[in-house]
């Protein structure tokens, strides 16, 4: 008979505990009853601030947190445990439910710390912990906005959580004040120097920082609030958010007489067991061996220890590394090891570059041989390299690790100097040793291979440059050469063609390559020439460069016939045009299928039939759909506000506009897009190269998505923009991608490998950090102005038309290798051609 485990609380750590227990308890020895206080299952509280991007709680949902289909888990929400009867081993919940337990896990988390300030309970004063807190803040912002336009707000607390709250307010369009009692922001993580720079960088983002002062009182002032600071400053505001740290919720344990830690929290040993052997505590409510951890990673580790202990296995909490690297309002902050130089005799090495907004400090042992810790603000790119070095002997002079020479640590030290157990990818816990093994033993010969083999570099991507260096260190040469004919990469060739205005492949290979070209470089150069606007893709010499699909403007299928896909912008089509498609399919005997991109694919056309089919289609108002090209395919859409009860914007209208704008744009690989009219995301925009989702505030643009073999959810690039701004940013994004990506590199892989990742992309296409946005927009404007339908161009030109014959000596003769049979009432190919293989 199974025993009963009661879990008090359902946050991230409680969920991890239930998950760990249920996955390991194969015999079902424990039945689990979880009582949560919030009305929704555990969600990603770490990402709470991102809730402001979408106001959709589903985005924060943790997979499997409802335990659907698991009969051994009962999840009770909105009914927290209120008391424990340790003698009877029984808990009572708020609703009065009484539940016996064999073991009890306390996972009640933290409560926001609210200092005892006069007026702290006034309406308009909030805390920052739950989705409901954010909903309440949002409602207050909206009310204030209706009263007086732009509302004012203050956040009490300038630590990690305070700056998160400030970011949320900023994302709601406010310019918040931040009040911090310590003399600097993020006092726990950074030192005065780092805090100073952080202060400046945050101030640049429209946040007013008040450090070294407390909030002494909050008073009602009409329908607003007046906050008085200890230094005499008064803030007239509409709302105030307390986000000044958290305190463990240890009340249940305290009332039940469990031992508590000195600084609060239910005291446990290293197995997370409290002073009552039947009761465990995990996460932020626990004081493991006297220490409370406010981070999720140690909480997860406790959850796993407790689950193992419950299953009778030996496990103990190993302590936790509280090193952190994070991005607050776009500012990188990292802190690791002994960041405050608390070790006796420790020395500090500081590099403070106020001009470029970067502060770096290393703490080393008194003999300067061992790295103890450090602080990085503004540019934390060396974090991955430095953190593994903590506690180990320094390979070089500490100043060389953070100094400007050679661009910082990665180059100064070299990855060779790192020990094998140094973690290169901290997101997926992949060590240098594991990556080297993948290179040597599994034959990984590129960054992509390492990624799929070890998962390193697949989450935040910040270690991708290190992967390249490890490959080089292992003697793996990573050539960026396009092929044997060009030593340049595609991006370099693009720049050459753009700068020199070379218009033919012959001239390009004569001046910048060797040999005659091949099936790799010819189509790549053809694509570059087409992007830069050199007339029809089948004009002159260009025809012989094109891959067969582009050469015949149709998609070659396995038997050498082609499929035809006319453009249906946004998937919106008139019945009359739909009828024409049906008539053409019937007339030419074409297999017909609806595509995933909301259009119609007609299969089985021979080379000779293509112009006849397209004559009919062009006459009916169709144009090329570029299904054959490395070009924009479709912009998929849901019906949006026009029909849908939930729509926020006209998604079809935007999809049509975007598809007509970017049609025909030749790019390194195909481009797919989608526009969803609301957060329900029916157009699956986040699986697209660029996807747009409507919100009540405007459009959110997501980039770098992919379906296929390696699915990738697109990343949010900008939110709440209007259509003009959206189109401007997509123009820049696409042109930047087209110029810099490798051949056949989709936006997802491109973004993963882009040095600096999404932040760099944001800097380039939104903040114009390279000063090229005007140029990118002009290039797109030129593309839009010069677009012409490729199929119309063929039909109007006898020379181009002449190429569409199966046999040069027998025009009109049917290809004897092509035959069809009938399957489900439609024609499908039969392979008749007997290969004339001399030997095989």
């Amino acid at each position: 008979m199974s025993r009963t485990l009661v879990v008090a609380g359902h946050g991230m750590v409680a969920h991890r505990l239930v998950e760990a227990l249920r996955s390991d308890d194969v015999d079902g020895t424990w039945r689990v009853v979880v009582f949560g206080e919030e009305t929704r299952p555990a969600y990603d509280r770490v990402a709470l601030t991102s809730y402001v991007d979408t106001w959709n709680p589903d985005v924060l949902a943790l997979p499997g947190a409802e335990y659907r289909g698991d009969e051994l888990v009962e999840l009770v929400l909105g009914d927290p445990v209120e008391s424990i009867d340790r003698g009877a081993k029984r808990v009572t919940t708020r609703s009065g439910r009484v539940q016996d337990y064999d073991a009890l896990v306390l996972a009640t988390g933290s409560r926001p710390f609210v200092p005892p300030v006069e007026g702290k309970d006034l309406p308009g004063v909030f805390v920052y912990r739950t989705i409901e807190d954010l909903d309440d803040i949002r409602a207050a912002v909206e009310r204030a906005r209706q009263r007086r336009g732009r509302p004012a707000a203050a956040v009490v607390g300038g630590g990690l959580l305070g700056l998160e709250a400030a970011k949320a307010l900023r994302d709601m369009g406010l310019s918040p004040h931040v009040v911090e009692m310590a003399p600097r922001l993020m006092p726990l993580q950074v030192d005065d120097g780092g805090g100073g720079l952080l202060n400046r960088l945050v101030t640049d983002l429209d946040v007013t920082v008040h450090t070294g002062t407390s909030t002494s009182a909050i008073a009602q002032d009409g329908d607003r609030l007046r906050a008085s600071l200890g230094n005499g400053t008064e803030l007239d505001i509409d709302l105030l958010v307390f986000s000044a740290g958290v305190r463990p919720r240890d009340d249940l344990g305290r009332e039940a007489g469990l031992e508590l830690g000195e600084r609060g929290g239910v005291l446990t040993d290293e197995t997370c067991r409290t002073s009552d052997p039947h009761i465990f505590a995990v996460g932020e409510c626990a004081s493991v061996a006297g220490r409370v951890y406010g981070l999720v990673a140690p909480g997860y580790s406790m959850a796993e220890v407790a689950a193992a202990t419950l299953l009778g296995r030996e496990a103990s909490f190993p302590g936790a590394d509280t090193s952190t690297k994070l991005k607050l309002m776009g500012v990188d902050v990292a802190s690791f090891g002994d960041a405050h130089a608390a070790t006796e005799g420790s020395l500090e090495v500081v590099f403070n570059d106020a001009v470029n907004g970067s502060y770096k400090k290393l703490v080393v042992s008194d003999d300067a041989t061992t790295l103890l810790g450090g602080v990085l603000v503004g540019d934390a790119s060396e974090y991955n390299l430095l953190r593994p070095l903590v506690g180990g002997e320094l390979p070089v002079d500490p100043a060389a690790l953070i100094g400007p020479a050679g661009g910082g640590g990665g180059d100064a030290v070299g990855v060779e100097a790192l020990p094998d157990d140094a973690q290169i990818c901290s997101c997926n816990a992949v060590t240098k040793g594991a990556i080297n093994a993948a290179i040597h033993d599994d034959g990984c010969d590129g960054v992509g291979a390492i990624k799929s083999c070890t998962r390193a570099g697949t989450s935040c991507g910040s270690c991708v440059p290190m992967l390249g260096k490890l490959l080089s260190a292992c003697g793996v040469e990573q050539s960026t050469a396009l092929c044997e004919h060009f030593t340049q990469s595609r991006a370099e060739l693009f720049e050459i063609v753009r700068a020199t205005r070379i218009t033919t492949f012959s001239e390009l290979i004569a001046k910048h390559g060797t040999g005659k070209g091949c099936a790799v470089c010819k189509p790549a150069v053809a694509s570059i020439l087409a992007t830069l606007g050199n007339g029809h893709v089948l004009g002159g010499e260009q025809a012989s460069l094109q891959d067969t699909n582009d050469r015949f403007l149709a998609n070659m299928q396995r038997n050498g016939t082609y499929s035809v896909v006319p453009r249906v912008p946004g998937g919106e089509i008139m019945p009359d045009k739909l009828i024409v498609l049906g008539q053409v399919a019937k007339e030419f005997g074409l297999y017909t299928k609806i595509t995933g991109g909301q259009r119609v694919d007609l299969f089985g056309a021979t080379v000779d039939q293509l112009p006849q089919i397209w004559r009919r289609l062009v006459d009916a108002g169709f144009e090329s759909g570029h299904a054959y090209g490395k070009a924009l395919r479709t912009v998929k859409s849901c019906v949006g506000t026009t029909w849908c009860r939930y729509g926020q914007q006209d998604s079809v209208g935007l999809a049509v506009e975007l598809e007509l704008r970017y049609r025909g744009l030749r790019s390194p690989h195909k481009l797919k897009s989608g526009v969803s009219g609301c957060q329900r995301e029916c157009a699956e925009a986040r699986s697209k190269d660029f996807g747009i989702i409507a919100t009540e505030h405007g459009w959110n643009l997501y980039v770098g998505g992919n379906g296929g073999a390696v699915p990738r959810h697109a990343d949010l690039l900008v939110s709440g923009v209007d259509t003009d701004e959206l189109v401007r940013i997509i123009d820049r994004f696409l042109m930047f991608y087209v110029r810099t990506a490798d051949r056949l590199q989709r936006t997802a892989a491109w973004l993963d490998e882009l040095d600096g990742g999404l932040d760099h992309l944001y800097a380039v296409v939104v903040e114009d950090s390279l000063g090229i946005c005007d140029e990118l927009e002009a290039a797109m404007a030129e593309h839009v102005a010069n677009y012409e339908d490729e199929w119309k161009g063929v039909l109007e030109d006898p020379e181009k038309l002449a190429r569409f014959t199966s046999f040069v000596n027998a025009p009109g003769a049917p290809d004897p290798t092509i035959a069809f049979e009938t399957e489900r009432d439609q024609p499908v190919p039969v392979m008749l051609g007997v290969p004339e293989v001399v030997s095989r």
Binding site: K516, A519, S544, L545, T548, M556, T805, V808
Partner: protein, 120 residues
């Protein structure tokens, strides 16, 4: 069009005119249909030299090699199959990506601006 199967088996070489030189663009190809349904890819390098290969891609069984990209690999003149992109030596029919595979070659000659395909 006088090629007969008995002549082929007898080893006689018969030349079939298929098109004018200017009907085959540089670095490209056209397909010719010979008697008996034999398909030949008539391919031309970028310096104007003609080569004849079986039009049938041995890896897919589709008659498509005339629609491949003509170029060179390591100095060897090649056509790449448009289906799975293997390269074939224009002179010998040898597949560069799979040494066990070789496809039939056909001699080409140009007489008075007309391209002729030879069948052995």
């Amino acid at each position: 069009m006088t090629v007969l199967s008995d002549e082929q088996s007898a080893g006689a070489e018969t030349w079939t005119p298929v098109c004018r030189v200017d009907q085959v663009p540089l670095a490209a190809g056209v397909a010719a249909l010979l008697d008996g349904g034999v398909q030949v890819a008539v391919l031309r390098t970028d310096d104007g030299e003609f080569h004849g290969l079986s039009n049938i891609d041995p890896f897919s069984g589709a008659a498509v090699l005339a629609r491949g990209i003509v170029g060179d690999i390591g100095g060897v003149p090649v056509v790449a199959s448009p289906i799975y992109k293997q390269n074939f030596d224009l002179r010998t029919g040898r597949c560069l990506d799979d040494p066990d595979v070789r496809i039939a070659t056909y001699p080409i000659r140009v007489v008075d601006g007309t391209v002729h395909v030879g069948v052995r």
